[in-house]
Each structure stands twice: as C-alpha cells, then as structure tokens.
C-alpha cells in the first residue's frame, strides 16, 4: 500500500488517481459521505475508502466537512438575542388577533340571537295562521 505522504506528493489539477479514483471524483462524494451517506454501489464505497486511506489531501477535505458539521450542530444550542421591540410587536399582534377573535365571537352570538328570534317569530306566525284557518273551517262547517 502506498503511503499517504507519497500519494499527496504528486497531485495534478484533478489530483492523483488512487484506488482508481481521482481526488476530484472523491471530492464529489465527500459532502454526503461526511454524515454517513454512501453511494449506491458498495464497490464505489470501498474505492473511496481506500482513496481516503492513502490521500492526505482528501483526508484534509473530509476533516473540513466534519469540522463544518460540528460547527453547524453547535449553532443549534446558541440563542440569538432578538432585536428590541420584536417581542412587543409579537404580543401586540396577538392582542389584536384576540380582539378580532372576540369581535367575531360577539357577531356570531348576535347572529345566533337574531336567527333564533326570526325562527321563533316565523313559528309563531305559522301557528297563528294555522289557528285562523282551523277556526274558519269550523265556522264554515
């Protein structure tokens, strides 16, 4: 097996071919490889692993990706200070929404009362008309 020192010593523009792959070809898979995503072909995975074993340049590159992922994960735990007035703005927006909601509920309530009243009036009118009709019929009989 070639040593990593030898492998890194003679890079061309696309990197030296190691384990059948150039550094450029390996560089294409490293962003996915860093969190365990491998190619669809196991043979290709083995070749990439062999290339990485022997190539200092690509080892440095994947190390960069690992450091990047750690740095990004670390951001998850940091809380940024919201600008002044942002919280007040949210609370004011919520208060306005609550008012709108209360207004709509009131209107709904009024509508229910109004419709109930119309219903009662219609029922009463119907009952009255029926009573008149029955009375007239009896008189005619």
């Amino acid at each position: 097996m070639r040593s990593a020192e030898l492998a890194v010593s003679d890079h061309g523009p696309s990197g030296r071919r190691i384990a059948g792959l150039t550094c450029v070809e390996v560089a294409e898979v490293l962003p996915g490889l860093v969190d365990g995503r491998t190619s669809r072909h196991r043979r290709e995975d083995r070749l990439v692993a062999r290339h990485l074993d022997q190539c200092l340049r690509c080892q440095a590159e994947i190390s960069g990706y690992r450091r990047l992922l750690k740095a990004l994960h670390a951001l998850r735990t940091e809380v940024l200070e919201p600008p002044g007035g942002a919280l007040t703005g949210v609370l004011a927006g919520l208060a306005a929404e609550a008012e709108r909601r209360a207004g709509r509920a009131l209107l709904r309530g009024h509508r229910v009362v109004y419709l109930s009243a119309v219903g009662v009036a219609a029922t009463a009118a119907g009952a009255g008309a029926a009573a008149v009709l029955v009375t007239r019929r009896r008189r005619l009989d």
């Binding site: 960069g64 600008p83 919280l87």
Partner: protein
C-alpha cells in the same frame, strides 16, 4: 400550557415570552436577515395562536412552534421565489436542543460562531434553508423535501452544494486559500 390551550391570553403571552428568543434564532438562521426573521416569527406566533387547539401536547411546545417557524420561513422564501411548499407533518419536529444539556457539543462549539453565521447568511436562500434544517436542526431529508416542494434527491443535491460552499469558505484546503473570500461578519444577534 393547559391554560393557554383553553384560550387564556395572558398564559399564551407567557409562552411567547419564554420561547421567543429560540423562535427568533431559528427564523434568523433560516432567513439570514433580521427584518425577515421578525416577520416570520410574528407570523408563526399568530399561526400558533390560531392553531393552538390542534397542538396535541405529545411533543414539546417548542418543537411544535419551531415547525411552524420553519413553515413560515419556507412560505416567505417561496413567496419571494414563487415556489410552492408543503406543510410539515405534525410528527416531524425540528430539533430543540440547549447547550446546557449537552456538554460534549458545548466543548465542540469553540469555533467562531459569528463566522459560521455570516457564511450561512451569505448562502443563497435555497441552499441555506436546506442546510439549516438538516445540519443545524436535524430535520430528515424527506421532511425538508416536503417543506420545499421538491424531491428528496433535489434536497440532497442542495445540501451537498451548501456543505461544499461552506466548507470551502470556512475550512479551505491550502490550494483553496486564495479563492476563499473573507466572509464579512454581520451583526446577527
């Protein structure tokens, strides 16, 4: 929480006060701009307030809220880019961690965060949203794809590109040093 779900306004205000910095942080990371982040947070709390009865309570409130923030951010970005997106399903939460709970990551957090944030903010929106949801908040690829209305493969391609760009800027190889432009550090909090 129970009082807020019963429609108690002041109880919901208390929830807002407790969760606002975390929600703003997520919005800031997704939008890369303070004004946009404020709008997204405002919109997210309104949506949360309107949909509070739908919160099942089997997840933490912040997990539910952060999903809404991510949806609002995607909507805002979609509006600008005229891309549609699907809402995240209820059971897919955005990770909500705190540094105090994980000493290992606390130790790994030594890298200059302001540089990372600045590099993130410099990414194109399409790439930033994917890498923030995946690599900062641990959302699965399928959820990100659904969020953006793109295929899972497309989401992975964007993630791939975003990682490549950030790695080149933040951890360049010796031969990339000349190409790596200095990331201007913005005030992000």
């Amino acid at each position: 929480m129970a009082r807020a779900r019963r429609g108690d306004g002041p109880a919901f205000d208390d929830l807002v006060r407790m969760t606002h910095p975390g929600a703003f942080t997520l919005a800031m990371r997704l939008m890369g701009d303070e004004d946009d982040a404020r709008d997204v947070v405002q919109d997210a709390y309104l949506r949360a307030f309107r949909g509070l009865k739908r919160f099942r309570g089997d997840a933490r409130f912040t997990t539910w809220l952060y999903r809404i923030v991510a949806n609002c951010a995607a909507t805002a970005q979609g509006r600008r880019g005229r891309h549609r997106h699907d809402e995240l399903p209820d059971d897919l939460g955005v990770a909500d961690d705190h540094l105090d709970r994980d000493p290992e990551r606390k130790a790994a957090a030594g890298f200059d965060r302001r540089r990372v944030q600045a590099a993130l903010a410099d990414l194109p929106e399409k790439l930033r949203l994917v890498i923030v949801l995946r690599d900062v908040y641990d959302l699965p690829h399928e959820a990100i794809a659904a969020q953006l209305g793109i295929s899972e493969t497309a989401a992975k391609v964007r993630l791939h590109r975003a990682r490549k760009r950030l790695r080149t800027v933040l951890f360049p190889l010796p031969e990339e040093m000349e190409d790596a432009t200095e990331v201007p550090i913005r005030a992000v909090g």
